[in-house]
């Protein structure tokens, strides 16, 4: 029996309705949205539109046009950063960003001479926002992960957004690890841009994702090309979402994402979160009983996402992950998790760590078996 505990990379399994929505679209519709004027093409339009509406509902956005589809969170963050930042701008970010945020920022540092400032963190990975107002001085964009894929820490977006908006600084957040598994409300906590990916907590197919952009905010485009409408102009249209969505969409993926969002809204994000908290509690309690094992991040399940990174003294984390797979059939991820910044923070930048990331379909038994296996390996 195989146990999948790498939901932080991508969620598995997907709800059955997601798989059937993809094949149903491919078999029975197959048209490109936003272009043709025949009924099936218009049905494809409606499918894309309904997917935007479900995302509005899930994220608290008001208008479907504020949801821009991309191929993943990485593309969304590239669009947000490259479309917004001007030469000499100054960005405040965290010390635990994923490379999807960190590398575009570093590139902008080289190419547009932007300044990058990082919010310091406590050793358990929590952002230290006590002196936030000082760090915000002169900043033109706050760009922070909503939840770390290594430490599991959740960024206090409400406090950061309130402080940033007091100084009229917009806030971009990377919700790759939180969308679908953690409550988000871009209206209640007025986020200006929110990047999400469709294939992790949102339970959709890979190759789907998006960027929420607050109404009234216009970004430069990352790509130009056909948008279906206003074709005689040599320039992209000014109105979202078409402005940012040049090229034929991943409509197969969006058909799946539509089904996934329907599944999540039915299940309820609060219930999904509660399930993950319960499993995380068990996981942390179990890991605590294993000698010479150290896990990273907050010790309370309520204060973190359903993912936990750990190391066992004297054990190479890559070997631990390999053994878990080959001898126990348990899939976890080792290494730096594309987030060397976060590992630097934990002091694990040279060895990495083993990361267990839970999903909605995991059960208590999965956690029990993992704990037994890790105990064996550590003994």
């Amino acid at each position: 029996m195989a146990i999948y505990l790498d939901n932080g990379a991508t969620s598995y399994p997907k709800p059955e309705s997601v798989c059937s929505a993809v094949t149903d679209y491919m078999r029975n519709n197959g048209a490109s949205p936003g272009r043709g004027n025949y009924e099936r093409a218009r049905d494809a339009d409606t499918l894309v539109y309904r997917t935007r509406k479900l995302l509005c509902k899930l994220l608290g956005a008001k208008r479907p046009g504020q949801i821009i589809f991309t191929s993943n969170a990485t593309e969304s963050l590239n669009l947000a950063l490259k479309g917004y930042l001007k030469p000499e701008d100054s960005v405040l970010t965290t010390s635990y960003e994923h490379n999807a945020m960190w590398r575009p920022l570093k590139k902008m540092e080289d190419e547009r001479n932007i300044k990058i400032r990082q919010i310091p963190c406590a050793p358990d990975g929590r952002a230290d926002i006590a002196s936030l107002h000082e760090y915000l001085r002169g900043v033109t964009l706050v760009a922070v992960s909503h939840g770390s894929n290594v430490t599991g820490c959740v960024t206090p977006l409400d406090e950061i957004t309130a402080a940033a908006h007091k100084q009229n600084i917009p806030v971009l957040t990377d919700a790759a690890q939180t969308a679908g598994v953690y409550p988000i409300d871009v209206t209640g906590v007025p986020i200006d841009m929110l990047a999400f990916t469709g294939h992790k907590g949102l339970m959709g197919p890979t190759g789907t994702g998006g960027l929420y952009i607050r109404e009234g905010m216009e970004l430069g485009t990352l790509k130009e090309g056909g948008t279906g409408g206003m074709s005689s102009s040599p320039y992209p249209p000014s109105e979202p979402p078409d402005r940012y969505e040049a090229g034929t969409m991943n409509i197969c993926g969006l058909a799946g994402l539509h089904a996934a969002l329907t599944f999540i809204i039915d299940a309820g994000v609060d219930d999904i979160r509660e399930h993950e908290i319960n499993l995380t509690k068990l996981l942390l309690e179990g890991l605590d009983t294993i000698p010479r094992l150290k896990y990273y991040g907050p010790s309370s399940a309520e204060d973190r996402l359903g993912l936990v990174s750990f190391n066992i003294e004297g054990h190479d984390p890559n070997k631990v992950a390999l053994t878990l797979d080959s001898d126990y059939g348990i899939m976890v991820r080792s290494g730096l998790h594309c987030a060397p910044q976060a590992h630097r923070l934990l002091g694990t930048e040279h060895i990495g760590a083993v990361r267990v990331s839970l999903g909605y379909f995991n059960q208590k038994e999965d956690v029990d078996l993992l704990i037994d296996a890790v105990r064996h390996i550590a003994a």
Partner: protein
Amino acid sequence: MFLKSIKILDIDVCVRQRSTFASHTRASVDVSEVMPYLNGILKGADYNKEADSIKFIQNHVEITMIKDQINVAKFANRTELLELLDWVQDLVNDTYESMSELTPLYTAQHRPSVMTIYSLLPKTNCRKCGEKSCMAFAARLYKLEVEISDCGPLAEEPYTANRDKLNNVFA
């Protein structure tokens, strides 16, 4: 539910600009009976009892209803069109549900002449509205092809009092 669905019959493709984007749709029911109530609540709507038609503007988009036809023009893209049709469906259904509390208006709303509108505009011909002159803007406002807010200068002093007057005459 009174109006169960609105089916898109066509969407103008390959268009130049917002002003030429148009779509014809068919409502699942004839919405004529709701029109006088819509006329009673929608500011500046153009209702014609004989033709069972009503025309109004929402967020720059032109909507014309004739019996079970709903024509939409000047939307920016298909997302906006679909969003608008959802809005129209909710509006018609909410109005239908509340008909007993609402007052129908069977006559055309009082509309000022082009000259009256012109007299309330800044008359600077600044072209910020995209029209060649304030007179051209007045003519289009009369036909409900533009909105009062499309004249930016009206939102600034010393014109806000005139803007309020315009809002009142279109109310």
